[in-house]
Amino acid sequence: MSVHWAEPVWLSLRLAGISTVILLILCVPLAWALARSKSRWQPIAEAFLTLPLVLPPTVLGFYLLLLLGPNGPFAPLHLVFSFWGLVVGSVIFSLPFVLRPIQGAFEAIPQSLLECAASLGAGPWQRFTALAIPMAKRGIFSAAILGFAHTMGEFGVVLMIGGNIAGKTRVISVAIFDAVERLDYATAHILSFGLLGFSFLILVMLSLLNRQKVHR
């Protein structure tokens, strides 16, 4: 009985954890580039990277399936119906949720402060690492929480490219769907209520974090 819900929970946690780490590594430099860019292509890049925010997950999942599937350009990687395929999907799906808060935090750093640092002799890399990242750490932290929570709850993309393989791709949301189909309401209850509580806790944490920011 316990295995029914423990396995998807563990899988979801692993997926969310790994995806969040990858997302942070990707999004911190990307957000910095977007925040600093004066290029006329910047709005287009920004729109493209925000697409997952508005697209139905099934649309995203469908294109990913085509790209990663047996006839797609990434077929040799064997990502479809695998855990690492889910990671790829989650990273793309949650990207705007991580990118946006970090970019916002970087944009909140006054331009004059960065100019001042440059005049003191700090080069672009040093301004990024010694100034921008520490000043945006709150934004980066909330982005990580948001990305983690969002990945925990994803469903559409996972179902499209991962299917429903126990221990490999059956994450919480898929397990709930599966349990309901089998009329196993007990498991569905445990998982749903767990995710509900978890999500609520995350949002409380985020708002506490934001409140601290205002008070300082």
């Binding site: 004059s112 005049s119 002799g121 010694a130 100034l131 000043m135 300082r216």
Partner: protein, 357 residues
């Protein structure tokens, strides 16, 4: 420094050429909207326009060259309170030292000079306005720059705090021959800090020259101001211990200025306000005025419809020991004394009205 810049920002067009001695303290002055800050940002490389910038035998910009800001060793102090608010005062200063060119700068000497010792471990974001300004200046100097660049320095400070900080900065930079280039609207700031002026209007440099020439230039507004003044370089030439007066020499004229003794031979700025100078035909023996010096009238300007000089007043330009000095007197007195160009007179300058800085 040689600068020729051209830049268009929306409807504003900057096309400015100027040159000034590398080691000078240069003010960029002019009315609002003249493009002073744009010019300064352009020559510092904070904005990239077309043109050429040369400083201290280095090409900063031009002929396919553009040295990035962080390699220019130019410390920039903007109008914003640019403290790193996530760091303590000490960490702010350490940040500048991390990238500073070697030059034996001592953090402790600067923190005590700028009165930052009591707040060293405080968060920089929690400082008062005056403390932030002192931190920003100390941090800029700790980066061991070749040039200090300021945009409207100390605008947010009250008169007394501004005065003290100006004197501190002036003495520090003068002692180390560290050049300054700054933008300022404030007449006191520019007369206390600058010795060279670039005057801008509508995106162009219209006048440039040594400060005193500009303060006297009839094309510029300064000589018509209510608080018009000239700034002369005098050297300390003795001390009257009983009267607590410094004797300052300007050519063969000697001024007596109250204050603590200055080291003999040191050069100081002597600010003479036009309103503090009166004229007489003979040398009064029974006056409380200490400084009575022979001078020759070079020019008499009456208030006219064009000039901003208040009606009833007269601007007289004097030759005093070879230097040009302004005296502001009433039209009535000028007529009573029958003053004319070329007349020999005595300039009476109240010693309490002298400023040496």
């Amino acid at each position: 420094m040689k600068v020729a810049l051209e830049q268009t920002k929306g409807v504003f067009h900057l096309k400015a050429d100027a040159a000034w001695p590398d080691k000078s303290m240069t003010v960029i002055a002019g009315p609002s909207g003249a493009g002073k800050t744009s010019f300064l940002r352009g020559l510092l490389g904070l904005d990239q326009g077309r043109g050429k910038v040369e400083f201290d035998n280095m090409l900063w910009q031009g002929e396919g060259v553009f040295i990035p800001v962080h390699q220019r060793r130019m410390a920039w102090v903007s109008q914003h309170d640019d403290v790193f608010s996530h760091l303590t005062v000490r960490e702010n200063l350490a940040f500048a030292m991390r990238f500073a060119a070697p030059g034996g700068l001592n953090m402790q000497a600067l923190t005590s000079l700028f009165m930052l010792d009591p707040v060293l471990d405080q968060n920089a974001g929690a400082l008062s306005g005056g403390q932030k300004q002192r931190l920003i200046l100390a941090r800029a100097l700790l980066s061991n720059p070749r040039l200090l660049a300021l945009d409207e320095p100390f605008g947010a400070l009250d008169a007394e705090a501004r005065h003290d900080l100006l004197a501190l900065l002036h003495d520090y930079c003068a002692a180390r021959a560290l050049p300054i280039v700054f933008v300022s609207h404030d007449f006191e700031t520019l007369t206390r800090l600058a010795n060279f002026m670039i005057y801008m209007k509508n995106g162009q440099v219209v006048e440039q020259g040594p400060l005193n020439d500009c303060l006297l230039n009839p094309q510029l507004p300064y000589r018509y101001r209510e608080d018009a003044c000239v700034v002369l370089r005098a050297s300390a030439n003795g001390y009257d211990g009983q009267g607590r007066l410094n004797i300052l020499a300007l050519g063969d004229a000697l001024f007596q200025v109250p204050g603590a003794p200055l080291p003999p031979g040191i050069k100081v700025n002597l600010r003479l306000r036009a309103g503090d100078i009166s004229l007489s035909r003979s040398r009064h023996q029974d006056s409380s005025v200490l400084n009575i010096l022979p001078a020759k009238i070079v020019k008499i300007e009456h208030a006219n419809t064009k000039g901003p000089l208040a009606p009833g007043l007269v601007n007289t330009t004097l030759d005093l020991a070879g230097a040009q000095v302004l005296a502001r007197i009433t039209k009535k007195s000028a007529q009573a004394l029958d003053l004319a160009q070329g007349d020999e007179v005595y300039a009476q300058i109240k010693a309490s009205a002298l400023h040496s800085a």
